[in-house]
């Protein structure tokens, strides 16, 4: 069976069993069923309950073994001690059982119970995900474990060892414009580990970028080999938890993480072209950068900054310099062409290009397109970073300046792609009206595959993430 076929029941389940829904209270199982229904899941939901005939309005069965036919995915949220029995007595009907329960190898004395759970799964030929996790998100199949997740599918596949952080990645990520092909929380990763899911995402056509949150691995060799073989053909971004000795202690009680070495994970990333990040926001920014952009055949290094705000331009140049990019002066012919655009006083067409909002809004903001086109045609930039101070442009409500800039980006990109990356930085003052406008524009840009960042420093980190993958692919020695 191919990897794609093997994992199809997990990411596109036609029949889902729920073990642990209650007739008298609203347990995790009940919430899962309600979430599925609200999310528009179109397959069959089968509650399992020792006595009830009906749960959440659905016909219930006494055990997994009693259910007629195969079960693609079982959501198991029962007391830890009973979980191995649930799997063992399933009559081999279940392809994937995700065990949410805690109380396994992450606690003292829980290792044997986890070993028994894995043994039970092997006996009946079921793959176990977890235990100690929250669920799987597959928007194309309308499968979710958290409310308020968007049903709009995307191109980012995520393996997340933590359940709660998985929700953060979905929700904070989608509000930034990230869209996922799937996200699996793997908890203690007793049976199904990250590397097999990475293999799936590498094969899956819908997935273009892979994100990982990991605290440890029991299959380090396999992970190394899978990522090495992948040769960074899809960008992989790793958020590694427990990289400090105190963080490692926290990880041990969170997911039963082994005491590994930091140097091992750093080496893994360097040897596989994987982007290593330390915070959730850096992780999401790196995913943002890789989500929409086609990578360049050589490493991005020359950056042009263009936007409104002199101080911001200076700080932005500092941020890009620190991140190892060149924000260099234009060649004379490029400068001449930019000067020929006749921008009003107060503008500076040297790199960084600083154009006041008042000038940008002339001709409905179409001057921006002329600037970007001139830079693209000159071949002087590997990346153009357009930054807009939302507070200032809020004063020009009568023109859709930002909308026109986004349109301009799309047109220029189509003409010159993948020669030059173009990203957008939408800077907000946090005022609710500004935030609302920003959300709108962010949505417009990201849904067209244009990466949007909150600040220039974040854009620098996003482009640095892309540079890691480009460098690795190009075969250049760092």
């Amino acid at each position: 069976m191919s990897t794609l076929e093997e994992f199809r029941p997990l990411f596109h389940p036609a029949r889902i069993a729920v073990v642990g829904a209650s007739t008298t209270s609203v347990s995790g199982g009940n919430r899962f069923i309600r979430n599925l229904k609200n999310f528009g899941y179109a397959g069959t939901i089968i509650p399992i309950h020792p006595k009830a005939e009906e749960i959440e309005g659905l016909r219930a069965y006494q055990s997994l073994a009693d259910v007629p036919g195969q079960i693609d995915y079982a959501y198991v949220a029962v007391a830890a001690a009973t979980a191995p029995g649930v799997v063992r007595n399933s009559g081999g009907k279940v392809r994937f059982a995700q065990v949410m329960s805690s109380g396994f190898s992450e606690i003292v004395g829980g290792t044997d119970l986890e070993a028994d759970l894995v043994a039970a799964a092997r006996e009946v030929g079921t793959r176990v995900i977890g235990p100690n996790c929250l669920g799987t998100y597959s928007p194309a199949a309308r499968l979710t474990f958290t409310e308020k997740a968007t049903p709009e599918p995307g191109s980012i596949g995520v393996v997340c060892q933590s359940g709660g952080l998985g929700i953060d990645i979905i929700r904070r990520g989608q509000n930034r414009g990230l869209r996922y092909s799937g996200l699996v929380t793997i908890g203690n990763a007793s049976d199904l580990g990250a590397s097999e899911l990475i293999e799936y995402f590498l094969e899956d056509d819908k997935t273009r970028t892979i994100g990982l949150y990991l605290e440890s691995t029991r299959e380090g060799r396999r992970l190394f080999e899978v990522l090495r073989r992948a040769n960074a053909r899809k960008p992989v971004v790793l958020l590694k938890g427990g990289r400090t000795s105190q963080g490692q202690r926290a990880a041990a009680s969170h997911t039963g993480a082994l005491a590994g070495s930091h140097s091992g994970w750093e080496a893994l990333c360097r040897q596989t072209g994987t982007v290593l990040t330390d915070t959730l926001d850096d992780f999401l920014d790196a995913l943002m950068a890789t989500q929409g952009m086609d990578l360049r055949p050589s490493a991005t290094s020359r950056v042009v900054l263009f936007g409104n705000g002199g101080g911001t331009s200076v700080l932005g140049t500092d941020a890009f310099d620190r991140a190892g990019f060149s924000v260099g002066a234009f060649a004379d012919d490029t400068l001449t062409k930019l000067e020929a655009l006749g921008l009003p006083a107060g503008s500076s067409v040297a790199n960084p290009i600083d154009v006041p909002a008042g000038a940008l809004q002339q001709d409905e903001g179409r001057v921006a397109e002329k600037i970007i086109s001139t830079i693209a045609a000159s071949g002087a930039a590997d990346a153009v970073v357009i930054h807009v101070n939302m507070t200032v442009i809020m004063g020009f409500r009568h023109v859709d300046m930002l909308g026109n800039i986004i349109q301009a980006v799309l047109r220029v990109r189509q003409e010159h792609s993948p020669g030059m990356h173009i990203v957008l930085v939408l800077r907000s003052d946090g005022d609710s009206e500004t935030e609302e406008r920003k959300r709108e524009y962010r949505q417009r840009a990201t849904s067209n595959g244009v990466a949007v960042f909150d600040e220039l420093a974040q854009a620098a980190r996003g482009l640095a993430a892309i540079r890691i993958v480009e460098t690795y692919r190009s075969g250049a020695t760092v």
Binding site: R221, G260, S261, G264, A267, L268
Partner: protein
């Protein structure tokens, strides 16, 4: 007669030793194609002057004794021995010194001293998550004080080896900083690959080795020579990289 790496390691572990003695360690390196100094092992009581007559001075003398891993810590090393007569005298002095410390030498190791060069450290460890890993650093304060070390998971490729070296903060030293001669980078890369590459010592010895430490590897403009090497053996088998 040359034995395969796993034979040497397996035999040593079967004998219950924790570490290879230095001559055995050097033989492992030599059979892996890594330069080691020309040397002779002289049994206690044998004629030292005659045994060292084919070596080119200056020589180093090192004690070989079961259980002594850090020879210099117990004063078991003498350097800059200029001729055969001095070698015999050095061995005799060292025997007295070792006896005073309650150490019974098994043999003497005489080696030609390596030409001057930069001191590099090459190590190998078994990571609990990733198995065999190779390490490189520059000798002295770079490794010990500044922790200026680069790691990679084995097997490494040539590109990894070059990147490990360029990642070192002290990399400039190898390229000839402060008027010193640049050293042979290719020779270091070659040693890294012979230790950590596809068919390297760490991949072949994964089930037997706990740790290896080539310290120093002396690298001149021309070559890299492993002047000292420690091979610490595993107490039990853990990771099978070929599974």
């Amino acid at each position: 007669m040359t034995q395969t790496l796993s034979e040497v390691l397996h035999k040593a572990r079967a004998m219950g030793v924790e570490a290879l003695d230095e001559p055995s360690g050097k033989n492992v390196l030599k059979s892996a194609g890594i330069n080691v100094p020309n040397s002779v092992v002289v049994k206690i009581g044998d004629d030292v002057a005659a045994a060292v007559s084919d070596l080119r001075a200056p020589l180093a003398l090192k004690v070989v004794a079961t259980g002594v891993v850090h020879k210099s810590d117990v004063g078991g090393v003498k350097l800059n021995i200029q001729d055969a007569a001095a070698a015999a005298e050095a061995a005799s002095d060292l025997r007295t010194a070792m006896k005073a410390k309650g150490i019974e030498p098994d043999a003497w190791l005489f080696e030609e001293m390596a030409p001057r060069g930069a001191e590099v450290v090459v190590g190998g460890t078994m990571d609990p998550e990733f198995g065999p890993m190779i390490m490189v650093g520059l000798g002295g304060i770079f490794v010990e004080v500044l922790k200026d070390i680069a790691f990679r998971i084995c097997p490494i490729r040539e590109r990894d080896a070059y990147e490990m070296l360029s990642e070192l903060k002290g990399a400039a030293v190898l390229k000839g900083a402060r008027g010193s001669e640049p050293v042979n980078i290719e020779a270091i890369v070659d040693v890294l690959l012979r230790v950590g590459g596809d068919d390297g010592i760490l991949m072949r010895g994964t089930s037997e080795l706990a740790e290896i430490d080539i310290n120093p590897l002396i690298v001149s403009k021309h070559a890299a020579v492993a002047v000292d090497a420690r091979f610490i053996l595993r107490k039990e088998k853990v990771i099978d990289v070929h599974a």
